[in-house]
Amino acid sequence: MILFFQQILNGIMIGSVYSLMALGLTLIYGILHIPNFAHGNKYMLGAFISLSLVALWQINYWLAIVISMLVLAGIGMLVERLIYRPLHDQPHINSFIAAIGLLLLLEGIAFAIWGGEWQRFPFAYKQNLKFFGITITLHRLLVIFATLALIVLLQVFIKKTSWGWAIEAVAQDREGAHLVGINVPFVSSLAFGIGTALAAAASSLIGPVYLVYPAMGSLPLIKAFVVIILGGMGSLPGAVIGGYLLGLIESLAGGYISMIYADLFAFAVLVIVLTIKPTGLFGKRAEG
């Protein structure tokens, strides 16, 4: 039983990262309808920025996360304005290729600035907590709670503020939103910025638990894509629930069956869900 609860806790921790990544990705997809392949690299940049802030300037860890989120939000808005907006009316393939180009560019930049070496985050809450035979470090627990806080904050922002309503409106009907006077280009930028900031939050939170290196984003990116397909493209609750679900499946399959097959189970669940509900758990029916 201890093993079971330990694996549940592990799964929630991994799921937190997947959820944050998937939330950003699905937010961007909902507004701009582009699969943002460069999202994993923004995740990596976020981790490197907070690592540098903590290591070089001895800035408080939580403040570093906030700064990293703001910087990445800025980068995200810039990318949207300079790269994706001019391509909006072009064939989809152009945005695809732009995203891949951006991916290579960002990875190259990170490589040039920070080098290809794996780095250990200079800070982590190392205290071990033990309750009912389950062990978890304080940092992992904080990752779980900080993620929950961010999810709640995002939900409040979307549901209770006028900018949040505008984002929802643009996601639902771009032209309609434009007609009622919503500044659609700015809202697109805003959504892109928020999505990117969430990636920075995810990597900065998890950075001290893992290691930081230029290729660190590719794996969470693939997992986040699985999550948003599982949860339904463009659906925020789908991203959150899908993320935790994937984390739990991986953790339980890894603990009880075999680590080699952990991914297999995750993909099997994806196939089953898509067979029963092709639009994903929370996806709306495709138009037309």
Binding site: I14, G116, T135, R140, E250, G255, M259
Partner: protein
């Protein structure tokens, strides 16, 4: 509207210049007249350009002829490694090791073959650790006349071996899987030792070095080579009447969170955890195992180097057993190598793979001198067993057999109080490993 009209004019300009190019192609270098048909006054300018071109060409030619480094003939050695991606630092270690060796040989005057002097040049190519790209890289090197090639990794080497005998190039591979020499390719030579030598010797030495260890848990990377390492260790270890409590495979390149696997393995109470993967994932496992309250030993394999001390020094301190290359026992050699690395590539420290790169270049150079040829790869292959051991050796290779496998010395080490502590020297006599314990 404005930008669009700008683009249109730009488009027109482009057409114009294309037209120009077309004319140039039709009329060859004698374009003075043709140009003047299009635009007056251009002919003077182009004549001037042509003269400048000629002058710069002359200067370049003079530079090439007078430059001492280029006036000598060069022998190229191709090094194919992952230079981008997650294990790029290992690939770079391979390349830098080779480059350091080439520079040392060149600084001493290069190699002398048939009364002629040759300098060595390393040509690095990236294969991203993918066998299909290894083959592409081999083809590229062959196309530019390279006859000696080094690859990194068992799968990558297996792919390159398909071509070696047919296309006639010498393959000095850095691979530890037994398959690469069992394939019967005559022009393939293994630079490291085979994994069964490393794995069984580690199990043997462990009996004396850490007699308190009874139960070992094995975590291996899902790669045929790493799996085989675990199996060979298991066989030797259980042969000594000891226990393997669990052996689990996982994809270390795709896993960063080891809590799920560790919470499954640690309740079995292993005395030692054998983790068969490279430094970075190894460090993560060590870190997370300690977080979960594990207090036992960590055992590693030859692919795990010095970086583990930097990333998880505190976690492994005094409770580690790893494989080190022969040169660590010679402080003079080791420091010289570290200095050379520092100058060439700050941030990368010489590891096992670098030592293999270094060894490979020296072997090639000495064998070329011995064989008296830089082109006949079969003769160079025949000469290789005759040049070992040699004083500059980093790997401590003692002899080669017909299959292309070697016998060499390696070192077992612990990491304690922030320093590497060398515990035993291992070499082979006949079929048995001989272990000399260092006091």
């Amino acid at each position: 509207m404005k930008p669009r009209s700008l683009q249109e004019t730009r488009g027109k300009k482009d057409k114009g210049s294309r037209h120009f190019a077309h004319l140039y192609l039709l009329n060859g270098p004698n374009f003075g007249n043709t140009i003047s048909l299009i635009e007056g006054g251009e002919s003077m300018k182009s004549r001037k350009t042509r003269f400048m071109f000629f002058l710069s060409f002359l200067a370049l030619a003079l530079f090439i002829l007078t430059s001492p480094a280029l006036s000598q003939e060069k022998v190229k050695i191709g090094v194919i490694s992952p230079l981008t991606g997650a294990i790029a630092h290992t690939g770079k270690d391979h390349v830098i090791g080779a480059e350091v060796a080439a520079e040392r040989i060149n600084a001493a005057g290069g190699i002398r073959v048939g009364g002629k002097k040759y300098l060595l040049e390393i040509v690095p190519l990236d294969d991203q650790y993918k066998p299909d790209l290894t083959v592409t890289a081999v083809r590229r090197l062959l196309g530019s006349g390279v006859k000696i090639i080094s690859t990194l990794g068992t799968g990558q080497t297996m792919a390159a071996l398909e071509l070696a005998d047919k296309e006639e190039f010498l393959l000095l591979h850095v691979s530890t899987g037994p398959d690469t020499t069992a394939k019967g390719v005559k022009l393939g030579i293994r630079i490291p030792s085979t994994m069964d030598y490393y794995a069984s010797s580690t199990a043997d030495a462990l009996l004396t070095l850490r007699p308190q260890i009874e139960k070992v848990a094995i975590l291996w990377n899902t790669d045929p080579g790493h799996k085989a390492w675990g199996e060979i260790f298991s066989k030797s270890w259980t042969g000594h009447g000891k226990k393997i409590v669990v052996s689990e495979g996982l994809d270390f390149r795709k896993t960063t969170d080891f809590y799920p696997i560790l919470t499954k393995v640690l309740p079995l109470k292993p005395d030692a955890l054998l983790v068969i993967t490279m430094d970075e994932p190894f460090s993560l496992v060590a870190k997370q195992a300690r977080e979960l309250g594990y207090q036992g030993y960590f055992l590693s394999y030859e692919g795990c180097g010095d970086k583990v001390a930097e990333l998880a020094g505190k976690e492994i301190d005094g409770k580690f057993l790893g494989i080190k290359t022969f040169y660590v026992l010679d402080p003079k050699k080791m420091n010289a190598l570290k200095e050379a690395y520092k100058k060439k590539a700050p941030g990368i420290s010489p590891g096992t793979v670098g030592a293999n790169g270094h060894e490979m270049v020296y072997l090639a150079a000495l064998a070329m001198e011995k064989a008296g040829t830089v082109t006949d790869v079969w003769a160079i292959r025949q000469a290789i067993p005759k040049v070992v051991p040699f004083p500059e050796s980093m790997r401590g290779i003692l002899s080669f057999d017909e299959k292309g496998d070697n016998v060499s010395t390696f070192v077992l080490a612990d990491f304690a109080d922030g320093k590497w502590v060398y515990l035993a020297r291992v070499h082979k006599k006949g079929a048995r490993s001989v272990i000399d314990y260092i006091k």
